[in-house]
């Protein structure tokens, strides 16, 4: 028993010693790390958020009656308890139809300057009607939808309070949903608290992981997952195995036929990423470690691969540190009161 105690004490001293060797300065955030602190949430001038708009948007986001057979809401695929994604490799929708791509999180989508894996939508307002119209997602007849929203006294009142003098149509429905989405923000993770000066918010491994993440000669992750929202709002082909298929998903290239965009997809945010496995647009990586292993190999299919992809030569410990860092990007769950749906 005593022997065990001695060993434990020795271990504690060794751990303390190794932390000490790194020096307390290395555990603190530097001035130039502050670029990672998120600014205030941007919004278009014609749709400034108000409590009424956010509340209406929340109702619409969670209401399955926005789909053809009352079975699917936005929250079906962007589920708050699954990091606002769906935990599936690729999305499944109305009547069990399979979608080709994974549901991305909508956390911090408010900061994106371009939406969707292939960037086919510009803003949250632009995006919101898409799923309702899409036959494979919610398959809703929009005329029927607006007629129903107008005929429902509670919804009519909520629209009047949120957008006085404006019609109940695609514009106000999408503005309300976008206003709600702008409240789904992750900016209080251990990483954020560490940046704000709490030296103990991240473990030593997580801090090492952050340095490896940004080091051009190591992880080189921040070249694409840039500050502050871990995205360059750009498009890259990572050489995923699925790109080797006979007729692969060409991603952004189908929207903009420029050669560098063949098989390129949008760089997603990594905030809340620990909650949203599996990973990549095709759901092909089961864990964060599998993702990092993919990067360490420099990708699999070399055809059309981004010039930023190369073999990294990271050790097992370094890969674990990067994974640990990504786990420090999870904020406490936002306190979400259930919306009161009109009935």
């Amino acid at each position: 028993m005593n022997k065990l105690k001695n060993i434990l004490t020795a271990c504690a001293i060794a751990v303390a010693g190794s932390v000490g060797a790194a020096g307390p300065a290395e555990l603190l955030a530097h001035a130039d790390d502050m670029t990672w602190l998120l600014p205030g949430v941007p919004y278009p001038t014609e749709n400034a958020p108000t409590p009424e708009r956010v509340e209406l948007g929340k109702k619409l986001f969670f209401d399955p009656r926005l789909s053809a057979d009352n079975s699917v809401s936005c929250a079906t695929c962007h589920n708050p308890v699954l990091g606002w994604a769906d935990g599936r490799a690729t999305a499944k929708s109305i009547q069990g139809k399979d979608l080709q791509r994974a549901s991305p999180t909508i956390v911090n989508a408010a900061f994106n300057s371009i939406q969707m894996w292939d960037g086919r939508k510009k803003s949250l307002e632009d995006q919101a009607m898409g799923p309702m119209e899409s036959m494979v997602e919610m398959a809703m007849n929009l005329n029927r939808l607006f007629a129903w929203l107008k005929s429902d006294a509670d919804y009519a009142a909520a629209f009047a309070a949120a957008y006085p003098g404006e019609a109940i149509d695609d514009k106000t429905v999408s503005k309300a949903i976008a206003s709600f989405e702008r409240t789904v923000i992750s900016n209080n993770s251990p990483f954020d608290r560490w940046l704000r000066g709490d030296a103990n918010a991240m473990s030593a491994s997580q801090i090492r992981g952050f340095r490896l993440f940004t080091d051009e000669n190591k992880g080189n992750c921040a070249v694409c997952h840039q500050a502050p929202n871990f995205t360059d709002n750009g498009f890259h082909n990572l050489g995923l195995p699925s790109y080797g298929a006979p007729e692969p998903d060409v991603g952004r290239y189908a929207i903009k036929p420029i050669a560098v965009l063949k098989g390129a997809f949008k760089t997603p945010t990594l905030r809340e990423v620990a909650r949203t496995a599996p990973y990549f647009h095709d759901g092909s990586a089961k864990s964060l470690m599998e993702v990092v292993e993919h990067y360490n190999k420099g990708g699999v299919v070399r055809k059309d691969i981004s010039p930023e992809m190369r073999e990294l030569g990271l050790s097992q410990q370094e890969m674990q540190d990067i994974v640990a860092f990504m786990q420090a990007l999870t904020s406490p769950q936002i306190n979400l009161a259930l919306p009161e749906l009109p009935y």
Partner: protein, 106 residues
Amino acid sequence: MLNKYLAFPLAFCALVSSALAANHVVEQKGKAFSVKSLNVKVGDSVEFVNADPFNHNVFSLSDIKTFDLGSYPQGQSKKVVFDKAGQAEVECAIHPDMILKVEVSE
């Protein structure tokens, strides 16, 4: 036959116009073009210098000029000659936030 007689005057014209034409240098830095808009004359060239530690692309699908310079890393540059008057929107396909308007006048 015709080609032979045309070749010299064409080459001569090209020489004269290239002597008169200016080269405008635009940097790609911090995921943006160093200027948002640029006024050039027909025949002028614009040289895009990548000053970022990652690759950029340069392309345009405008009526007066369609080109795709591919992607290239820090320190390298590529040139495009604007040979028709009008407006061109120059973009980076990798980073769609990067947009440059080029006004080409006679």
